[in-house]
Amino acid sequence: MTPPLLGVEGDGQGNVSLMTSASTMESIFQKNPGLTERNYMGLSDCSSVDSSVVSGISEVKRNNLNLRATELRLGLPGSQSPERDADVDNASSESLDEKPLFPLLPSKDGICLGSQKTFVSGNKRGFSDTIDEGKWMFSSSGTDSDASKTSVQGKISAVAQPNMTKDATSKMMPQEQSHGTFGTNLNKVNASNPPASKAQVVGWPPVRSFRKNILATNSKANDEVDGKPGPGALFVKVSMDGAPYLRKVDLRSYTAYQQLSSALEKMFSCFTIGQCGSQGAPGRESLSESKLRDLLHGSEYVLTYEDKDGDWMLVGDVPWDMFIGSCKRLKIMKGSDAIGLAPRAMEKSKTRN
């Protein structure tokens, strides 16, 4: 599976006024000689590689996806155009090149990553540990609007994640590896994964440490009850291959596959559940293998979910209520990867009949 390259749009007119002086970014690069610009293939000069591959991808996608937003672009602050919208509702094709695949709500750069999650994903950490973690040393994470600078930064950021996990720490900037103040969890992860692109903005949004830690504990508790039917929201993570960002959806806020599908389409505007999804309500219509294969070949991505048994199934096989009762996680896979799921899904649905 080849994850799409994360290109950077060298658009100087960032709508983010993250204005640090030009020398700041340079100094960061100078001071970290270990950070050579690499793309995921390990090539050190990736400027030409980036642009060519990026344009390649966009063409392919344009052909396949009805002019939806195509390019996976995860630029640093300031590298996106002002027209970009938080909601990807306006799929205006003229801003094709600038539309992010992940209009990460609120779509822009410079959002703090949810690294708090790693704190709670295992050991309980003393507060002092987390205090240390909070201090990512560069407070000036912004970029300036100089296009050349953004492309330089883009190279740092254009490191795709072949083994993207939901681990939020993979979002960290390379600069942060060099800072000794990180807690052990983060350091370990950084060492093993190539860093992803989103810039960490220290101290933003301005939420006090105490509250941050409480929220981290809360989200852990919520994760543990995910999938359990009951009152209240039912958040499941939605990941998409090749993208370092996850989304979460509240399955209870939908009543049918179509709603889920359109919501996810809005969020990740370039996949299709496949026409099989919309027939989910009766749910028993088995997909003929060939039909499924057609669909899967026809669309770039399909929506799959992990059920309580840990199996990955295609979404749309079972009635909606059964689905939300058993769905633990959603994943938008490349069609080619999902082919292997079809037989299993069919078997399962047969046994359920």
């Binding site: 983010v16 006024s17 993250l18 204005m19 640090t20 002086s21 700041t24 100094s27 960061i28 001071k31 002002p82 919208d85 938080a86 990460l104 709500l105 609120p106 779509s107 822009k108 750069d109 410079g110 959002i111 703090c112 949810g114 708090q116 003393g126 507060f127 002092s128 205090i131 240390d132 990512w136 040393m137 560069f138 407070s139 000036s140 912004g142 060099s178 800072h179 903005v201 220290v202 101290g203 933003w204 949004p205 301005p206 006090r208 440490s209 105490f210 509250r211 941050k212 929220l215 989200s219 508790a221 919520n222 009152p231 958040f235 993570k237 939605v238 960002y245 996850l246 989304r247 979460k248």
Partner: protein
């Protein structure tokens, strides 16, 4: 705010008659040397002792030498907004009879990890001086100070009448320090531990309160993680008959809370523990009368892990509540609506944005007396969640709550039109803090900058004292602020502005500005130096990740010797000409003597 006149000699003898007023204040008139003040000192002191407000007392002290002396002898309560603006020796020399001290230390952005550890604001030098100057000190309230266990032990053992300790956003201490306080302070009335960087080594500290301690009126340990002995807690609560504030931590279950409430009928403020169902032994009906004893309850907080089933146990207490803090309760809109239907008297409400816009509609319809609303983000760093509140929730509240004065609102989208409507509906805003969580985000409908939003706020809300701005903002925002926000005292700016003109407009126009904190804005030396004549009338200026250079800071320091111009160097040893974090404040104590190596005073 305490104004200290360095030229005043606090040790001058107290004369019976009025002397000529000389170097007190350069702008004051001088009295004729023959005029006599008719009041004997004792009467004057008695009269002045009735004045509580710090600002008033500062004014009083400037009238003449007699009044200055009378004021200083009658001052019981000292408020020091910046611990480095004055030294403990100066304070002790001027105010001989102080009983209560409030000290604030680090710049506010230290709450968000922008200030390195070991920056300073150590309370210990203060305690050392106070141990000789104010052995009868009764109250100490610290905010953003560095406090160690040794200091707490020193406090507990050197001040024998010590009564009230309040720690907010402090760090450097552990629960061992609390043990010392609990053990040694025989007359303790208040122990208020809020949101600190505390090393929680366990809940044994609470068991250190001796059986003889019955004076506690305020006990707040809501932010501590470790479980305390419930037995010790119950006994403590039952023997402290004057307890009016009790805020327990999350480990205390609903069962346990019910038992506690039986012992404190006078309670005015309650912070509950957890509502987690697994920890509850009885059905919900068992808790029906839980709050019926507490007739005086006006504040309710905590409310961890509430569920729709057990949250209603608090309904009987809601009618008289004036402050409801739900900022740790992940309520949905319907739960909130049901709850608020019982809360007609609410003046202050803190929420999590899980309630959504629908929840805020309920606020607008149920709480007409609301004066303060804070909406915190449940997942500020989680870009995945497509939820929270939007501009429409805020607008709903503004329609239903015209008395709104204080708002803190975290959201992911906003429009200029919405803010204009809000300002029109609530012209009495004194504190308007809007945080659009994505830096530099424009009006999501028009794609315009959010300049007009804040323009409408400052134009309409003439009483505005505190403003925090966010979103995509050009210099126009700052022009508006400078032109209209004549009562503004505190301004927080992040990721905003287009040029030096922005900051210059604010410095020129906001006459009452006291605190200015700026991060990640394109303001450079020209902007910094445009405030040359202003900084001495302000408490402090913070600028980080802006375009200020060392030379600019040096120029400022050179021109203004009574300002401390401090530059914090990033640890990565960055380029010398950039001043990454600048902190400027007035001081009568001269440059810091305890500055760590990364803080350079110019």
């Amino acid at each position: 705010m305490m104004l200290l006149q360095p030229s005043m000699d606090p040790n001058r003898k107290r004369a019976k008659s009025v002397d000529r007023v000389d170097s007190v204040d350069s702008g004051s008139e001088s009295f004729e040397s023959t005029r006599k003040c008719g009041f004997p000192d004792e009467v004057l002191e008695r009269v002045l002792s009735l004045i509580d407000s710090h600002k008033d007392r500062s004014s009083v002290s400037l009238v003449c030498k007699d009044w200055y002396n009378a004021e200083r002898w009658s001052r019981r309560d000292v408020f020091i907004g910046n611990c480095y603006s004055v030294s403990p020796e100066i304070v002790a020399a001027r105010f001989p009879r102080v009983r209560s001290v409030t000290l604030k230390g680090k710049p506010r952005f230290s709450d968000f990890n922008l200030v390195p550890e070991d920056w300073g604001a150590d309370v210990h030098p203060w305690l050392s001086v106070f141990s000789t100057a104010y052995p009868f000190l009764e109250e100490l309230r610290l905010k953003r100070m560095a406090v160690t266990d040794e200091s707490l032990e020193f406090l507990a053992t050197n001040f024998h009448g010590f009564k009230a300790l309040s720690l907010l956003s402090c760090d450097g201490f552990s629960t061992d320090g609390l043990k010392a306080i609990a053990t040694h302070c025989k007359n303790l009335t208040e122990l208020d531990i809020q949101e600190n960087g505390i090393d929680d080594l366990g809940g044994h500290w609470l068991s250190c309160f001796p059986e003889s301690l019955t004076s506690l009126e305020v006990l707040n340990f809501a932010s501590l993680n470790s479980e305390v002995s419930f037995d010790a807690l119950e006994k403590l609560v039952s023997r402290c008959k004057s307890l009016r504030v009790l805020k327990v931590n999350r480990n205390v279950s609903l069962d346990q809370l019910q038992k506690l409430l039986l012992h404190c009928p006078l309670l005015m403020e309650l912070g509950t523990g957890t509502f987690m169902q697994e920890l509850i032994s009885g059905p919900v009906t068992e808790f029906k009368t839980m709050f019926s004893n507490c007739k005086n309850l006006v504040t309710l907080s905590g409310l961890w892990d509430t569920t729709p089933l057990y949250l209603p146990v608090i309904y009987p207490a809601c009618a008289s509540l004036t402050f409801l803090n739900l900022s740790y309760a992940t309520l949905r809109s319907d739960e909130l609506a049901n709850l608020l239907a019982h809360c007609k008297s609410l003046r202050r409400l803190w929420l999590l944005d899980t309630v959504g816009d629908k929840g805020l509609e309920a606020v607008g319809s149920c709480c007409p007396l609301l004066e303060e609303l804070r909406v915190f983000p449940a997942d500020p760093f989680d870009q995945e969640i497509f939820l929270g509140v939007t501009e429409s929730g805020f607008v709903s509240v503004s329609h239903g709550c015209p008395k709104l004065r204080y708002v803190l609102y975290f959201c992911r989208q906003m429009t200029n039109a919405a803010v204009a409507t809000i300002a029109r509906n609530c012209p009495d805003f004194t504190h308007f803090r809007l945080c659009i969580m994505n830096p530099g985000q424009p009006d999501y409908l028009t794609k315009e900058p959010m300049d007009d939003a804040f323009g409408s706020v400052v134009k309409t809300c003439t009483k505005l004292q505190r403003l925090a701005i966010s979103g995509l903002l050009t210099d126009r925002t700052f022009e508006y602020i400078g032109k209209y926000a004549k009562n503004l005292e505190t301004l927080s700016v992040a990721f905003a502005g287009s040029s030096d003109l922005g900051m210059e407009s604010v410095l020129k126009g906001c006459m009452k500005l006291r605190k200015l904190e700026i991060r990640d804005c394109p303001f450079g030396n020209a902007a910094l130096l445009s405030g040359l004549t202003k900084y001495e009338s302000m408490r402090s200026l913070w600028m980080s990740a802006c375009n200020v250079t060392m030379n600019g800071c040096r120029a400022l320091a050179k021109e203004k010797p009574r300002l401390n111009v401090e530059v914090m160097r990033d640890e990565e040893g960055s380029d010398d000409s950039q001043a990454h974090k600048v902190y400027v404040y007035r001081s009568v104590a001269g440059p810091r003597r305890d500055a760590p190596p990364f803080v350079l005073t110019l």
